[in-house]
């Protein structure tokens, strides 16, 4: 049996955006039965991934919950759309790295979770190499 998974696609297949641009796309749940889905969370977020402890901030957060009466159809794709902020921009530094992504978390029956994530670039700050310690 195929494992449940989440596929995320950006409109126009773009992966680099500028502040103030609209990010939109859709997510699809694969190998998931409709009655198994308890809730779906769609987040546009950034997180750090360098030497320091991870910081995470959510720019846009939507939660659909079957318990709250939201209609979740696992067979048809869900959509997301948000205007991106002016900062912080994506950054690949020496010990500080900042990554933007769209993350879809699906809560299934029997306390299971499926997470899908698709990174994208906000702004065009080039990667930095350490010049001096």
């Amino acid at each position: 049996m195929t494992e449940p998974s989440v596929t995320i696609r950006f409109d126009g297949n773009g992966r680099a955006y500028q502040p103030g641009e609209t990010l939109s796309g859709e997510y699809r749940l694969d190998s998931v039965r409709r009655e198994d889905v308890k809730a779906v969370e769609v987040s546009v977020l950034w997180h750090t991934d360098g030497k320091g402890d991870e910081d995470l901030a959510v720019h846009d957060f939507r939660r659909l919950s079957a318990e709250d009466g939201d209609w979740i159809d696992a067979r048809s794709p869900g959509r997301f759309r948000t205007v991106l902020p002016k900062s912080p921009l994506s950054y690949q530094g020496a010990i500080v790295k900042l990554q933007w992504c769209v993350r879809v978390r699906v809560f299934l029956a029997r306390d299971r979770e499926v997470v899908g994530e698709r990174p994208f670039q906000l702004g065009d700050v080039p990667a930095t190499g350490a010049r001096e310690s």
Binding site: E3, P4, S5, Q18, P19, G20, E41, S43, L45, T48, D49, G50, K51, G52, D53, E54, D55, L56, A57, V58, F61, R63, P85, K86, S87, P88, L89, Y91, G93, A94, I95, V96, L98, R103, R105, L108, R110, D111, R112, E113, V114, L122, G123, D124, V125, P126, T128, G129, A130, R131, E132, S133
Partner: protein
């Protein structure tokens, strides 16, 4: 891939993170235990101290007694003998005469001991044998009577510990349970939403237009004399000097005790050579500290204040600005440099410690002068251009990570140690996030 409960989750970098559910359960148990401990302590305090005291103050009946005798009661405690005042009284209620040894409600309950005998004697001294005093007795058991009533400060003071445990444990438990079963994104969304209503904005809640870029308030509130803004200096040399002075005084204060003993032994004609040899290296280190402090004092007072002004703030990548430097003091500098630097800072947990690592990722010389002479009353002043590189990362600050930009002034005084002064600037993201290269 679907996943249910696991003891260990995915590896992040070279770290394996534990199960968040197990961690949350552990936190909940810990906070619940703290809260329970606090509740238990409070319950014991109420039963043994608060309720008996309240009953004595509010439910006991008033009468008159005669003092028969006063004495200091004693008992052996873990740390020695304990004392309490004991007053033998006689009183009559409804034709029945009662004779008891009492003081306050704690004495009646078998407690009321302290470590100070004088205190107990002074309390006894308030009562004279054969005199009449007011007595409060329990109507349901007239043998329970007190000649001292009111609230004891000890009762309220002793509540600090259990109340703190209840607050910390209860608060932690509520916070943990509020986040139970919620994803990291949902918790972050809740925290961010709550932060919007906080009276004082926190770390990340900077200017709404530019989230997570530090607000440039502190560096734009001081107008310059030559250019628009005077930049504040980070880490005043006066503080460093004060720290060295304290260290110097503490060290030499301790060592001087041994030095006095050693000198005394020599003066008395019975030299203590062992102590002298032991003290010598510490005394030499003390002299070194004094020398270093005097040197730092001369450098700080000799170099004088450094002023840096900038034509505009906040800065933007790809744009050019004017910088003004003014160096006062009385010294000759082999070299004076002005630099624009960018540092990354990352704070991480290492065991139980929180450590911060910084890494310089950009350094641009703005000005370099050799053989600069600064004379008293005539500061060295110059202007130069500041060009923020196109495509540079903007200033950034989150809970554990930051990107900071600074103007550095480095000086190499002749015959003196180098000095460095730091002036923070804020770099905003470029317009539309494009690097303008």
């Amino acid at each position: 891939m679907a996943r249910s409960f696991r003891l260990y989750e995915k590896k992040r970098g070279n770290r394996r993170t534990g199960s968040s559910k197990l961690g949350t359960a552990g936190e909940a148990v810990f906070f619940a235990a703290l809260a329970l401990l606090g509740c238990g302590g409070l319950a014991v305090l109420f039963v043994t101290w608060v309720i008996p005291e309240w009953r004595a103050n509010h439910q006991f009946a008033r009468g008159v007694c005669t003092v028969l005798k006063t004495q200091v009661g004693e008992k052996q405690g873990d740390d020695g003998t304990l004392y309490r005042p004991e007053v033998q009284i006689e009183y009559e209620i409804d034709g029945v005469t009662y004779r008891v040894s009492t003081y306050d409600i704690h004495t009646v309950r078998g407690d009321g001991y302290g470590t100070d005998r004088d205190d107990a004697e002074a309390m006894c001294g308030r009562f004279d044998q054969g005199e009449e005093y007011v007595v409060y007795y329990d109507p349901s058991d007239p043998y329970v009577a007190v000649v001292i009533w009111g609230s004891s400060w000890r009762v309220w003071l002793s509540m600090i510990v259990p109340v703190s445990l209840v607050l910390i444990g209860g608060g932690g438990l509520v916070y943990t349970l509020a986040g139970w079963g919620k994803s990291a994104e949902r918790r972050a969304a809740i925290v961010q939403q709550a932060a919007q209503f906080a009276p004082f904005s926190g770390n990340g809640a900077s200017k709404p237009d530019f989230p997570y870029v530090p607000v440039p308030t502190n560096i734009t509130n001081s107008p310059g004399t030559k250019l628009a803004f005077r930049l504040p200096v980070v880490g005043s040399p006066a503080w460093a000097l004060s720290a060295w002075l304290v260290a110097c005084l503490l060290w030499n204060g301790l060592v001087s005790v041994f030095v006095v003993i050693v000198i005394g032994s020599f003066v008395e004609g019975h030299p203590d050579w062992l102590l002298a040899i032991f003290t010598l290296p510490f005394a030499l280190l003390g002299i070194g500290l004094i020398a270093f402090f005097v040197r730092q004092l001369l450098v700080t007072t000799g170099v004088g204040p450094t002023l840096v002004e900038v034509s505009d703030q906040p800065l933007q990548p790809g744009k050019r600005y004017r910088l003004f430097l003014s160096q006062t003091g009385r010294l000759k500098l082999d070299r004076l440099e002005l630099l624009l630097v960018c540092d990354e800072g990352a704070t991480f947990r290492h065991g139980t410690d929180a450590r911060t690592e910084t890494r310089r990722v950009y350094e641009q010389p703005l000005l370099c002068r050799d053989g600069v002479e600064v004379t008293g009353g005539v500061p060295f002043q110059t202007e130069c251009e500041l060009a923020v590189p196109a495509g540079a990362m903007h200033s950034f600050k989150s809970g554990h990570n930051e990107v900071t930009w600074r103007i550095l002034v480095k000086g190499s005084p002749a015959r003196w140690p180098d000095f460095e002064r730091s002036f923070p600037v804020i770099v905003y993201p470029s317009v539309n996030g494009k690097s303008d290269r």
